[in-house]
């Protein structure tokens, strides 16, 4: 493999060109899957674009999915900077949703904006608590966080179904879900916002949680790159031995990184409970936690990268539902496979063409400089 002097590679080559090449490869392989499933990949692409951009409600859906992926992408990224693989976003989001609901229903006597603040706090605390046990076990006992967080996903799923069936179920209804929150607590939706300007649009799940996601991105950027704690955490992730030598406690940083990660995943519950369902329905995290892994890896674990990556997955999800509607041979699982391919190419195989691409640009720039 050719080696390149990293300092001479322009930032836009390693942070834009290489990820785009990897993404193109991933989409090419995904096209092959759609072909194997017996459908036309080009038709699928045009359906995806129409579904996610073609009409206002479709675009609102795209942004709604983007909101969820920003939360779970940021969650994975924060832990990853400490070299921790938090695969448990799914379970943390589920429990985070429980926090939102319990806070909102129990403090409904307070003014609505305060309930919202408390509910966001509830999501963070519950999500963080669910990440705390795997974090503690990783820090003190060396139990690998990948296995424990996966186990906590299964345990969260069992626990929530138990709660929804036996403890907090709306007993007047058949399905496993809770009672609805009072209507004044529901987050203002995109529909309400458009109505202010006299524009009438049909239902879409987009709500002000989108702004919360943007705020969370700034928070993560500030925390990881602009604070002393963020520096310590990255030091532990980069070289644990050196960090210990510099007096940084890996124990403390592992636990804090995982708890913040879990808290961010828990925010998914705010979007789903306050913004969309207004109650807890069984299985509401619906795989968003896992998609966060792909989003974070594609966005190179930086909020500036995570936003476009989350938007891309929003397009894939919303456009994908258009595809599953029109193409009988394609189910939503095809887009789970697409996620896997994207993780493979932009995560594990990111070095596949990197040296060649970097070399190519470094040589060209050298020629220009000489001429």
């Amino acid at each position: 493999m050719a080696t390149v002097d990293k300092s001479r590679v322009p930032w836009w080559v390693s942070n834009l060109i290489v990820p785009l090449v990897n993404l193109t490869l991933a989409l090419f392989v995904s096209g092959l899957f759609i072909f194997i499933a017996g459908e036309n990949p080009f038709e699928a692409v045009s359906l995806i674009i129409y579904g996610s951009f073609g009409y206002i409600e479709g675009f609102a859906y795209t942004l709604y999915y983007t909101t969820n992926f920003i939360f779970t992408g940021l969650a994975f990224a924060v832990a990853f900077h400490c070299r921790l693989f938090n695969i448990g976003g799914e379970g943390q989001a589920y429990i985070g949703g429980l926090g939102v609901f319990l806070v909102a229903i129990n403090f409904s006597f307070l003014p609505v904006p305060i309930v919202w603040l408390l509910a966001v706090g509830g999501a963070v605390v519950f999500g963080a608590a669910w990440a705390f046990i795997p974090a503690y076990l990783q820090a003190t006992r060396g139990s690998h966080v990948v296995i424990t967080t996966i186990m906590f996903n299964f345990i969260a799923a069992s626990l929530m179904v138990f709660l929804l069936v036996d403890v907090i179920r709306d007993t007047t209804q058949m399905g496993p879900h809770t009672v609805a929150l009072p209507e004044e607590q529901w987050f203002p939706s995109f529909e309400d916002f458009a109505a202010l300007f006299g524009i009438k649009i049909r239902y879409s799940p987009l709500n002000i949680s989108f702004l919360l996601a943007i705020a969370a991105s700034f928070f993560v950027w500030f925390l990881v790159w602009k604070t002393r704690w963020g520096y310590e955490m990255r030091a532990v992730g980069h070289n644990t031995q050196a960090a210990i030598y510099a007096g940084i406690s890996p124990y403390k940083n592992i636990i804090i990184a995982m708890c913040i990660s879990g808290g961010l995943a828990g925010l998914l519950g705010v979007n789903e409970i306050l913004g969309v369902h207004h109650k807890i329905v069984a299985g509401f995290p619906a795989g968003y936690g896992f998609t966060g892994i792909a989003v974070a890896l594609m966005g190179r674990n930086h909020p500036i990268g995570i936003f476009p990556a989350a938007f891309l997955f929003g397009i894939l999800y919303q456009g994908g539902s258009e595809v599953t509607f029109d193409m009988p041979n394609i189910t939503r699982y095809m887009f789970v496979a697409v996620q896997g391919v994207i993780i493979l190419f932009s995560g594990a195989l990111e070095n596949l063409f990197r040296p060649q691409i970097e070399n190519f640009f470094v040589n060209r720039l050298n020629l220009k400089a000489k001429a």
Binding site: A37, L137, F154, T331, Q339
Partner: protein, 323 residues
């Protein structure tokens, strides 16, 4: 007497339920002893289940289905090697990618080829593995104790169950008693020393991954062409991770990993047995909580008894040959 037959049926199901875990744990030992993390056991098991069921449905022979499953799993292992050994990508990321890819792809293809439910067609008797009755099982059934042990516990399992327990001593022999095993362990502990001795580190890791692929294929085929007669979505249900936990709990050693697998199998068998049963003093435990038992046990085992798990020294690090 009813108590005795209860115990017999519990042990019988423990042996059956542990089978895929044993194959997966042995597969994991090969990969991880060579220094390659393998969280993708879960995805490979699912892939094997899918390919075995589809192959056996179209070709009419479960052995051909198993063969295709082996080819599929070895290919996935090679993909993992290509990303993490040759291209030095992150091993955990590669595994996560494979797992998510396979969860999606198997269900998507099952739905595309066989209808929206994502199930493969039910296999008939010629297309699946059947229970093997050991010789004289019927005639010995009435002999006290020996009859129970032989006819009710040992006889009447699928071929994979016998294979799984036969393979454990074989794995022990290969890993600890042959020169291949010595090299395998050395590559996982200190690859640069092995390289100095003139052994190709990359080739050793690929060989280990190939064996890993063959072994995990048996686990998947057991699920879809023996215990069940079709593939359904996410049918591996976390078994790959349980097996990995069992392997770590067993300190990357076949014999102790086997014990851990049996413990998991027993918990699962007990879990099924306890559903809807009134327990003295506690009453009936809700079914959802009982089902979480194996997962809780995994966390407890990894945390409590194993102490700090001492993994092979070079695990997770791509080997970079010095120039």
């Amino acid at each position: 007497m009813e108590f005795l037959s209860d115990i017999a049926s519990l042990i019988n199901s423990t042996l059956r339920i542990s089978t895929p875990l044993v194959f997966a744990a042995m597969a994991g030992i090969f990969a991880e002893r060579s220094g390659v993390i393998d969280f993708s056991l879960e995805g490979k098991m699912l892939m094997a289940a899918f390919v075995a069921a589809v192959g056996s449905y179209f070709l009419g022979n479960p052995w051909l289905g198993l063969l295709l499953a082996i080819i599929a799993c070895v290919s996935l292992s090679m993909l993992h090697g290509f990303a993490s050994v040759t291209y030095k990508g992150d091993q955990v990321v590669s595994c996560v990618a494979i797992n998510i890819l396979i969860i999606g792809l198997t269900t998507a293809l099952a739905a595309a080829w066989f209808g929206q439910a994502g199930l493969t067609p039910t296999l008939n008797e010629d297309q699946r593995f059947l229970e093997v009755n050991l010789p004289f099982a019927e005639s010995l059934r009435d002999v006290p104790i020996i009859g129970t042990i032989y006819s009710d516990i040992l006889s009447g399992h699928y071929i994979f169950v016998y294979l799984a327990y036969a393979i454990v001593p074989l794995v022990f022999w290969v890993v600890f008693k042959t020169s291949f095993g010595l090299r395998l362990r050395a590559v996982g502990e200190n690859p640069s020393a092995v390289d100095t001795a003139g052994i190709n580190v990359f080739a050793m890791r690929y060989k280990a991954l190939a064996i890993n692929g063959v072994l995990i294929a048996f686990a998947g085929a057991h699920l879809s062409t023996a215990v069940n007669a079709n593939f359904f979505r996410e049918m591996s249900a976390g078994r790959g991770y349980l097996a990995l936990a069992a392997m770590i709990f067993g300190k990357w050693h076949p014999k102790t990993a086997l014990v851990a697998c049996l413990l998991f199998g027993f918990t699962d068998a007990l879990q099924i047995r306890l559903q809807g049963v009134e327990l003295p003093a506690i009453g009936e435990i809700p079914v959802q909580l009982i089902q979480a038992l194996p997962y809780v046990l995994t966390v407890v085992l990894l945390a409590g008894f194993v102490g700090k798990a001492i993994a092979p020294n070079a695990i997770g690090q791509p080997y970079i040959k010095e120039r």
